[in-house]
Symmetry: C2
Subunit: 408 residues, 2 copies
């Protein structure tokens, strides 16, 4: 018997019929002897309906009042799910974030959890009840309702799992797990049975949008095993957990990619200390986030400096750069918004040489020119022309044999 | 400068446009220098929508979970109204029942308020904020959300007015005050400028459904002046307050009536102690409420016993009575579900003789036979054949000159 926290998102509880399905799934687990805590989101569409009402009355509503409004969405779901469980003969009790209480700071609309009071929940679990908790919300020290921001229900689930030392935190979504890459690009893509926190963080931030990155960070920090599963199909999903040294790790777990970046290069800037901050300072001042940054060794006392930004910020960033380049006496600015980034991710590369070489060879074999390279301990990213994205991903997926289960 | 509590019902906040109208009205009062507390209901239709969702998932949901669900209705409104006030430049803050906190017993769906913590509200008022409070809800000592039952928002408003010693509690509805009788029956019916608590209680319980009777009782108990006004039209409404000895009271304030009762008579029952409880005991045991009860002096050691019940309970009550009559050896049971009750109400009748006589003469002049009579200190009720209802009410309205303002 173990303690399991399950989280169901808006689509999973989007109708009366789906709430019934969730209740049945929860009861199945409970009947296997597990203690169950269930975290739910607002029914799909409800949060947008509320925001729409608010916008009709105030073009910039104060965070505190917006949180009072939005938190009703999950409150409706916890009541409905508890009722459904009880209708099916399973004792249940619901809690809002304030009732638990899930204490947060007072940053409305994007609050961070600071403490969770687990007394009531433990008492209910001891009585055999299923505990249903509203995701996405908490309250500050003065009792003001706060929300954690979009996707915050995942964070609630992980935080509860951490506070109650749950054996597993299961996140139910509309996908059945984490794949080696996007199956729409590579039909042979394979669902991973397990992946490490670090790999998942690299995959998520690189565009494999299965889980909120914040909840993965949280799970990693408190070492809560996290499982991604589908609400709609059977299957064990993907377990995201700390690296297990006893387990043979695959060299590469997956291939992430995105095509929503653009690159800007400043050529021939004076190679002296502080140049990077002089170039990126004005960009950051406009709240433009920079992803990859590359500066190569200079020559003739000048250097070339390249970075990527989101395509939505491309024009604004370019405008800033043209001014900066003038000031710095740079030779030239050039840029490209038809690029794609492809990354291979895997903790196995720590202890294995030759990953980069395999990657570059596979791309070269397809005549794909690499425009930028950036590496971290468990990932290698390259920037290529956008038109080579699918071809590159497929070539790499094959080169690393990702269609085959390494355990098989 | 005074402290005013205003309450707006579901129709008054039933749309984005109406919430804007409410905000403007509140700001008008605030700008006149009054401290303002505003109690709101759920937007019209919302409570029924939520109940409908619940019924699809549980045919008899537990009170605790139903309260978690229903309380979201008012929570949405407080957030929307606060945002609207702020959009219009008026500082505002919203509170749920739990946040205030409005402490209740734990009788879910029909909880009673036991205490109100006024610290936060006083602090906000001192800062010049409009305080917006969710009606209909509170929490018990363990922090469980409770609701006060339908119409409970009126009770919330009166309870807040009592706790904060407000100068006036204004209840906004879709009628513009309390009338001498139903204007649909008597076009000359006149809006009363003021009426005493006692009269209002008699009027309300007799069918003039303007205010929840519980909130009038509460206002009377704590001596909170209550004003009924329309959200949609201008006008001073009707002030419901304690009797003011310095004020000349009208003889009769109004004429209440209903046609939803039926009468049952047991003829020739043995006239001995305990007979009333033997007759009504089995009726009460079936949770059937009895309104009028009349027993006249007996003769030949038997007596006749008559009572009225709601028409919905008529058949059930009659069935019980036929059994009881057999047991008691009564001569006969007869009954009539085509009756109407007409009552004249007024504190003035305490100090004036002849009211009953005027009433009976007016009815006799129209050839209306009186079937039953029952009196209290400030009311005289008669039961007549249902077909005479409108005629009787009009005759009495005229006999007591209710179309004329007594102050005029």
């Amino acid at each position: 018997m173990s303690l399991i926290v399950q989280k169901y998102g808006g689509t999973s509880v989007g109708s009366v019929e789906r709430i019934k399905e969730v209740a049945k799934k929860v009861i199945d687990y409970r009947n296997q002897g597990h203690d169950m805590i269930v975290v739910v989101s607002a029914m799909s569409g409800e949060t947008n309906r509320l925001i729409d009402l608010a916008k009709q009355l105030n073009d910039d509503p104060r965070g505190r009042e917006l949180d009072v409004l939005l938190s009703t969405g999950e409150q409706v779901t916890i009541a409905l799910l508890s009722m459904t469980l009880e209708q099916l003969g399973m004792p249940a009790v619901s809690y809002t974030g304030s009732q638990v209480r899930i204490l947060t700071d007072n940053a409305h609309n994007k609050a961070r959890i600071t403490d969770i009071d687990d007394d009531k929940i433990r008492a209910d679990l001891k009585q055999g009840k299923v505990v249903v908790v509203a995701g996405f919300q908490g309250c500050d020290e003065d009792g003001n309702i706060t929300t954690l921001g979009r996707g915050g229900s995942d964070t609630t689930a992980v935080a509860l799992a951490a506070a109650l030392k749950a054996d597993e935190c299961q996140i139910y979504t509309d996908v059945d797990g984490v794949y080696t890459t996007d199956p729409r690009v590579v039909p042979e893509a394979r669902r991973l049975d397990h992946i490490t926190f670090e790999e998942m963080l690299e995959m998520a931030s690189l565009g494999a949008k299965v889980l909120q990155i914040r909840s993965v960070e949280f799970a990693s920090k408190y070492n809560v095993p996290l499982r991604v599963l589908s609400s709609f199909t059977e299957g064990g999903g993907t377990l995201i957990a700390a690296e297990d040294p006893s387990m043979e790790q695959a060299l590469i777990s997956g291939i992430a990619f995105n095509r929503d970046e653009a690159k800007i290069t400043v050529l021939g800037v004076p190679d002296h200390p502080g140049i990077a901050s002089q170039i990126l300072g004005p960009v950051a001042a406009q709240n433009i986030e920079v992803d990859m940054i590359i500066q190569n060794t200079g020559h003739d006392s000048t250097t070339d400096f390249t970075f990527t930004v989101h395509r939505n910020d491309y024009k604004a960033a370019l405008k800033i750069l043209e001014q900066t380049a003038d000031k710095l006496g740079a030779r030239e600015v050039n840029s490209d918004d038809h690029i794609a980034k492809i990354s291979v991710v895997g903790v196995g590369m720590r202890s294995h040489a030759g990953i980069a070489s395999t990657m570059f060879t596979a791309l070269a074999d397809e005549n794909i020119n690499i425009e930028m390279i950036s590496t971290s301990e468990i990932k290698i990213s390259v920037v290529v022309n956008e038109k080579y994205l699918e071809l590159g991903v497929r070539a790499l997926h094959k080169a690393f044999n990702l269609e085959q289960d390494p355990a098989a």
